[in-house]
Structure formats: structure tokens, C-alpha cells
């Protein structure tokens, strides 16, 4: 490990702090930029989904990973974003505006939700958000004049001016570009006063409050931001799937986003991206596993649920910092080889303490 010499405070708040990292990111950017040349459509479309899921995952990460507010209702924001986009597109609103409005709409809903949940913590909050998601799903089903109820809405492809996003590579660039933009906004937020206030609330609400952080206000802000990001992802999702119904946004979608942030690595932006890759790749991985062991597809159902469940349990038991945490350990191990000690990453109690006494 080397400790860089710093000459100004500016260096600590730079986007990318080390030159070495810069090179790697540049290479990654290049690889992503050139992906349509060497990847087939199938893989590109998976990458598009990774982009969508990573944006939604960043929304969840902000809320769960950085602010410690467990949400089991992220699917509701996804749904509001998707429906806003679909309805606005039908009404002829241009994509640039409808995408923003989809985010704003989901964000506003988040802010309104926080009015009733601002005083809640821990499991109460988790269950309140779960309830919220059920209510949103029901409203979407019942408000038939607007949403066409259970029959769903067909969503057309994105059109900007005369340009239609009709090929896989176009959509890929769009979703990846938006992901990069969202990542940049997140980094900015996290290196600012608001971002610090959020992580402060996660670690100790009482002392955050005593330092002047208005808990209710920041909970509203984080729910709004998280909702907005997830809403934008929902809008993209609507275009990607091209057909949305309320029952695509059930608790399973919320759980999936929660798994994404946990498996990816709580409290890390890398984690959200890793988690999205994981969620999109997992089904293929399971098929590989199935074929490798020659398991009949009759047992696919059990296999899916089993792998999913076991991964959740095992990650929580053995790698609570997720894929990103594991990656950091491997990196450190290589960096300081042969001086690695098992206790280097002694397990700490994470983010929250007993919620009965909060």
C-alpha cells in the first residue's frame, strides 16, 4: 500500500483520487463503449438490464446501505416510474421530459410516504414500506381509466426527435450512459454535506440529531432521492419490457432489489453495480449449474428457489459486506501479501444497533 502525498484539500474530494484507479476506469469505460462490437445482442441486452437494475439498486443502496432505512417497498417506486413513463409517452410527452417526470413523480411519492414513516425505524419502517408497496400496486390495478388496470399498458420504444431506440446497442448505450450519470450524481451527493448527514443517521440517529441534522427532513430527502432513482429505472424498465402490468411490481421485485444491495455490498456504489450484475446473471448461472449436474428441468423451480435462498443465507452468514467486501479483501490480501492476518477484517456489528433501544 502506498500513501499518496496530498497537497490540497481539493484532492480529498476529487472524483477519482488515485491515478492508478483512473487508468482502470478509463479501460473499463473503453470496454463498455466498445461492447457492441464484440458482444452479441443477447449479452448486450443483459448489460442493458444490468444498467436498469444498477440504477434501481443505487436508489435502494442510498436508502438501505447509506441511510440504514430498510425498505421492502422499492417495487412501488419502480412501478410509479414505469407507469408515469408509459402514460406520459402515450400523451405525447417527449422522452427527455417524461423520464425526468417519472423520477420526479416517484420521488414525490417517496417524500409523501416519509410524512407517515419519518418517525419509524427498523422493522416498523420495513413493514410500513411493504404496506405502501401493496397499496400502490392496488391503486395501479384499480385506477383503470389511467392505468388500464390489470390489462396493462403496451409501451412503445423510446423516440428522441427522429431517433428511435430500436436496436439492442442503442438501448444499451442509453441505459449505461444513464447509469454513469446516476453514479456521478451519487458520488457528488456522498461527498457532500447531505451524504454525510445520511450516513450519520445510519450510524446514530441520536447524535446526528444533536449535531443539527433534522431527521424527518433528511428521511424525506433520502426517500425522495431513492424513489426518484428507482423511478427512473422503472421508466427504462417499461421501455425495455414494453408491456407493464401491476403484477410485475410485487414484493418479489422489492426483495430482489434488497438482495441486490446486500449481495453487492452494503454501503458501496460498486456494490450496487456488482449486485445488479449478480441479479441479472444468476438465472443463467443456475441453468449452467443445472446442466452441469444433469438435473432435470422439472426440478428447476426448486433449484431456483434453493440457490436464491441459500445465497441470501450464506452471504449474510459469511460475507455480510457482499461481493464488494469480498473483492476488497482479496485486493488487500494481494496488496499486503504475505502479511495478511485473518483478523484484519474482524467482524464488526454493522450499521444498526438494537432497535428496541433506539
Amino acid at each position: 500500500m502506498h500513501v499518496p502525498m496530498k497537497t490540497s484539500y481539493n484532492e480529498d474530494i476529487r472524483l477519482i483520487r488515485q491515478r492508478g484507479t483512473l487508468v482502470w476506469y478509463a479501460l473499463l469505460a473503453l470496454a463498455l463503449l466498445a461492447a457492441p462490437f464484440y458482444l452479441g445482442e443477447h449479452h448486450l441486452s443483459q448489460l442493458s438490464f444490468v444498467g436498469i437494475y444498477a440504477i434501481a439498486g443505487l436508489g435502494a443502496m442510498l436508502l438501505v446501505g447509506y441511510t440504514g432505512q430498510v425498505s421492502l417497498g422499492q417495487a412501488a417506486f419502480l412501478a410509479i416510474g414505469a407507469y408515469t413513463e408509459a402514460i406520459l409517452q402515450k400523451a405525447g410527452v417527449p422522452f427527455a421530459a417524461s423520464l425526468v417526470l417519472a423520477g420526479v413523480m416517484a420521488g414525490l411519492t417517496g417524500a409523501i410516504l416519509s410524512l407517515s414513516t419519518a418517525r419509524l425505524a427498523g422493522i416498523y419502517l420495513a413493514i410500513a414500506t411493504l404496506a405502501f408497496a401493496f397499496i400502490v400496486e392496488e391503486v395501479l390495478t384499480r385506477w383503470e381509466s389511467l392505468t388500464n388496470g390489470s390489462l396493462g399498458i403496451l409501451v412503445k420504444r423510446i423516440q428522441v426527435g427522429g431517433f428511435t431506440f430500436d436496436a439492442e446497442w442503442k438501448f444499451y448505450y442509453l441505459s449505461t450512459g444513464l447509469l454513469v450519470l446516476v453514479l456521478w450524481l451519487m458520488i457528488n451527493l456522498l461527498r457532500s454535506r447531505t451524504g454525510r448527514a445520511l450516513t450519520a443517521m445510519r450510524d446514530s440517529e441520536i447524535s446526528a440529531q444533536s449535531l443539527g441534522i433534522h431527521l424527518a427532513r433528511y428521511k424525506a430527502i433520502v426517500l425522495a432521492l431513492s424513489g426518484a432513482l428507482t423511478g427512473v429505472a422503472g421508466a427504462l424498465y417499461a421501455h425495455r419490457i414494453q408491456f407493464i402490468t401491476p403484477d410485475q411490481f410485487t414484493i418479489m421485485a422489492s426483495v430482489e432489489l434488497l438482495v441486490l444491495v446486500v449481495v453487492g455490498g452494503l454501503g458501496s456504489l460498486h456494490g450496487a453495480v456488482f449486485g445488479a450484475v449478480f441479479i441479472v446473471m444468476l438465472p443463467q448461472f443456475i441453468v449452467l449449474l443445472r446442466d452441469a449436474f444433469g438435473i432435470s428441468s422439472t426440478y428447476q423451480a426448486g433449484l431456483d428457489a434453493g440457490v436464491y435462498g441459500l445465497l441470501m443465507v450464506l452471504f449474510m452468514l459469511f460475507e455480510p459486506h457482499g461481493i464488494y467486501g469480498r473483492w476488497q479483501k482479496i485486493k488487500l490480501y494481494l496488496d499486503i501479501f504475505p502479511f495478511y492476518r485473518k483478523a484484519t477484517f474482524r467482524r464488526q456489528r454493522m450499521f444498526q444497533k438494537s432497535e428496541q433501544l433506539r
Binding site: 473503453l30 463503449l33 445482442e41 384499480r142 430500436d166 419490457i241 410485475q248 428441468s297 428447476q300 426448486g302
Partner: protein, 392 residues
């Protein structure tokens, strides 16, 4: 100049040189000299996999039978099955794989309305046929498009047909509805409303439940309070039994009618006394071994031999879908393209299969196989046909 920036230049050059997304195309994707590749998306691991797994078996049996009989115009048929767990996102990804990596010639018998609705545009955009999705929703044939074909009588037609018959023959006048609050239930509700409107009636009571609900007491109580004499259920299996048992427990015994969705032996087995007298519209009779024709018996035996399990109506569905699609390919001749396949399918007129499915016809301008159903009733624990095929 750094390595990174040089690499960038190379990439930019490549960007100018090619236009991405346009691979070289064979003449007809998925059709080679000796093989036709078709694909399907089934729910093998999701909430309706009790459909997906037997359908897959039926389909594989059909493919084996066809190939054993020499294939289609000298080509063997190969079926690629992908699981989508009844999840539109997975369906889109799996469809992408079938279309671009397996290079299928046609999508045949994909399952579920939402999932098929999400993937059909991808198939059609590539100029490939989308055949017989396993869902009685009209959108897979209407509005008419050259390459989309549907097999099943829509729920809408099925319910209207049964309802019309029951009102005319049994004299029901106070019709109530209980439907699942999804696209399927909405179709049933619409059918009841439209059929009643013909005679200037309205449903006396309309109530719904959320998919997966297990308690129907307030819904049934409301139907009872509104004094319905025939209750149309937009339900599948468990909800049908649950609703009828609840009514029985309230000491209330109206007549009940369901759509094809609940027409399965398991409904009668689970419900026992509670579902006696239940009416259902149906398109293919359930193959009970003791009353089956010799051809069907032979089929049941070959199914058992292959999968070690007695077939159910889902297995039949998987089988006849592939069979009918293969018929169209046979009619298309050696020069198999999406266009000739469409023309081949359009040659099918009043086709009746060994299972007694409603006669199928396709024509230029009408790609919905059949709108006909017959009315069946649970009597002594099994389904009995009350009528021949009819349409409202």
C-alpha cells in the same frame, strides 16, 4: 500518448468502420437443410409451473413423434425450451437468447399473457412467426398481423358462450361475478357484462379478489346478499374450490360457472362435494383413461412411458400446439420461410385432432384458431360434457 488513449483511437476507428447490430443473416434463421429450430418460453420454476412442466413434456413428446415419423419435409424438428418463471424480465432475456443465440425459426407455445405480450414484439420485429402462445388472450391474434397466430378460444368468448347457454336453457336471471383482479379476471368480467347487456341485464353483484387470496368470505357474502342465482367465477383452481366451499359453508347453493382456466380434474378432486354441479366452458375434453378413444389411450401410454407419469390436460395442450404448428410447416413445403409457414397454416380448415379439441381454422385475415367451446359440468367427481361445440 498513453495506452488508454491509443486504445480509444482504435475503438473510434472501429466505430466508424462498422455499424453495430447488423450481423450477417442466413437466408432463413433457424431452418437448415436438415433441421428446423423452434423455441418456447415456459414457466418451469414460477407460480404457474404446474402448467409449464407438463406442457414441456407434451411438446417434447410431439417433437419426438414427428421426428420418429420422418420429420417435416425431410427436416428434423428441434425444440429449445427456456424457463421464464412467469417473470417478464426473464422472459425478455430468454427470448433474446432464443432469437439471437439459438436462432430459432419460430416462437411456439410461449406461456402466459404478460410474458408473451412482452416477448411477441421482439419475435415479430425480426420477421419471425409467433405461434399459439398458451394463453386465451385475444391480443395474440387481434389485431391481425401476418405472422401471429393464436390457438385458444379466448376466455371472453368461452364465458359468453357458456353464459348464453345457461341463461337460455336453465333460466338463470340474477348473475353475479367474482373475478381475480388481473388481466384474466378482467376478461371474464367483461364477457359477463357484454353478454348480459345483450338482453338488457346487468350483473347483480360484482366482486373481486387479489391473486393468491385464500379467504373469500366477504365476497361470497356479498354475492349472497345480492341474491345471485348464477355466480360466474373468474378463478383458477384453488379459488374456485375456495369460493364454492365458502358458499356451501354459508348454506348457500347457487349455480357456479368458470372459464377454461378452472377446467381441470384437480378442481373436482380437491373440491369433492363442494364443487358438484360446477359448470365450465372448455375447448379440449379431459382425457379420462376409462373413456378415452384407442388413439388417445395409445398416446397416454406413450406419455407414461416417456415421463413416468399420467398426462393431464396441460400435457395434451403442449402436444397439440406443436402438432398444429408442424402441420403448418408441412403444408409450407420444402421452401420453409415465415411467409410460406403463414400460408401453410392458413390452409388448415376445420381440423379436428384425436383429443376432440374444437375444430381449428385459419385464414388470411383471421389467425385465431377457434372461438368455440363446449359446456362441461362436474358430476360425481368428474367432468362431463353437456353440449357440443358452440359460440355465442
Amino acid at each position: 500518448m498513453t495506452f488508454a488513449s491509443r486504445l480509444k483511437m482504435v475503438a473510434l476507428g472501429a466505430l466508424l468502420a462498422f455499424s453495430p447490430g447488423f450481423g450477417a443473416k442466413a437466408d432463413v434463421q433457424g431452418v437448415s437443410d436438415d433441421e428446423i429450430v423452434i423455441g418456447t418460453l415456459l414457466d418451469l420454476s414460477g407460480p404457474i409451473n404446474f402448467w409449464g412442466i407438463p406442457v414441456k413434456n407434451g411438446m417434447e413428446l410431439a417433437v419426438d413423434d414427428i421426428n420418429a415419423a420422418g420429420g417435416i419435409n425431410g427436416r428434423k424438428l428441434r425444440l429449445v425450451v427456456e424457463d421464464m418463471a412467469y417473470d417478464p424480465k426473464k422472459a425478455v432475456l430468454a427470448a433474446q437468447k432464443l432469437l439471437t443465440s439459438d436462432k430459432i425459426f419460430a416462437m411456439v407455445g410461449s406461456m402466459g399473457t404478460v410474458t408473451s405480450a412482452a416477448t411477441m414484439p421482439m419475435v415479430l420485429e425480426r420477421g419471425l412467426p409467433h405461434l399459439f402462445p398458451i394463453t386465451p388472450a385475444e391480443m395474440f391474434a387481434i389485431p391481425y398481423e401476418k405472422l401471429k397466430f393464436a390457438f385458444f378460444s379466448p376466455y371472453y368468448d368461452d364465458v359468453r358462450t357458456s353464459l348464453k347457454y345457461l341463461i337460455a336453457e336453465k333460466g338463470f336471471s340474477r348473475i353475479g361475478v367474482m373475478y381475480q383482479d388481473d388481466e384474466f379476471g378482467a376478461n371474464v368480467l367483461q364477457a359477463v357484462k357484454d353478454q348480459l347487456a345483450e338482453t338488457g341485464l346487468e350483473p347483480v353483484s360484482v366482486t373481486s379478489y387479489k391473486r393468491g387470496a385464500t379467504d373469500f368470505s366477504s365476497q361470497i357474502a356479498r354475492l349472497k346478499a345480492d341474491n345471485a342465482d348464477l355466480v360466474v367465477l373468474g378463478t383458477v383452481v384453488r379459488e374456485t374450490v375456495g369460493a364454492m366451499a365458502t358458499a356451501k359453508n354459508l348454506g348457500w347453493h347457487p349455480a357456479f360457472l368458470i372459464s377454461q382456466a378452472g377446467y381441470a380434474p384437480v378442481t373436482a378432486e380437491l373440491g369433492k362435494d363442494a364443487v358438484e354441479g360446477l359448470y365450465a366452458g372448455a375447448m379440449t375434453p379431459i382425457p379420462y383413461p376409462d373413456t378415452a378413444s384407442p388413439e388417445v389411450l395409445a398416446w397416454i401410454d406413450s406419455y407414461k412411458a416417456k415421463f413416468g407419469d399420467a398426462p393431464n390436460v396441460q400435457g395434451v395442450v403442449g402436444y397439440i400446439i406443436i402438432q398444429t404448428a408442424a402441420m403448418g410447416m408441412q403444408n409450407a413445403g420444402r421452401d420453409l420461410t415465415p411467409d410460406t409457414l403463414a400460408a401453410g397454416l392458413e390452409q388448415i380448415k376445420d381440423y379436428r385432432n384425436i383429443f376432440g379439441t374444437a375444430p381449428l381454422s385459419f385464414s388470411d385475415g383471421d389467425h385465431l384458431g377457434s372461438r368455440q367451446t363446449f359446456l362441461a359440468q362436474v358430476q360425481n367427481g368428474r367432468w362431463v360434457a353437456l353440449t357440443g361445440f358452440m359460440h355465442y
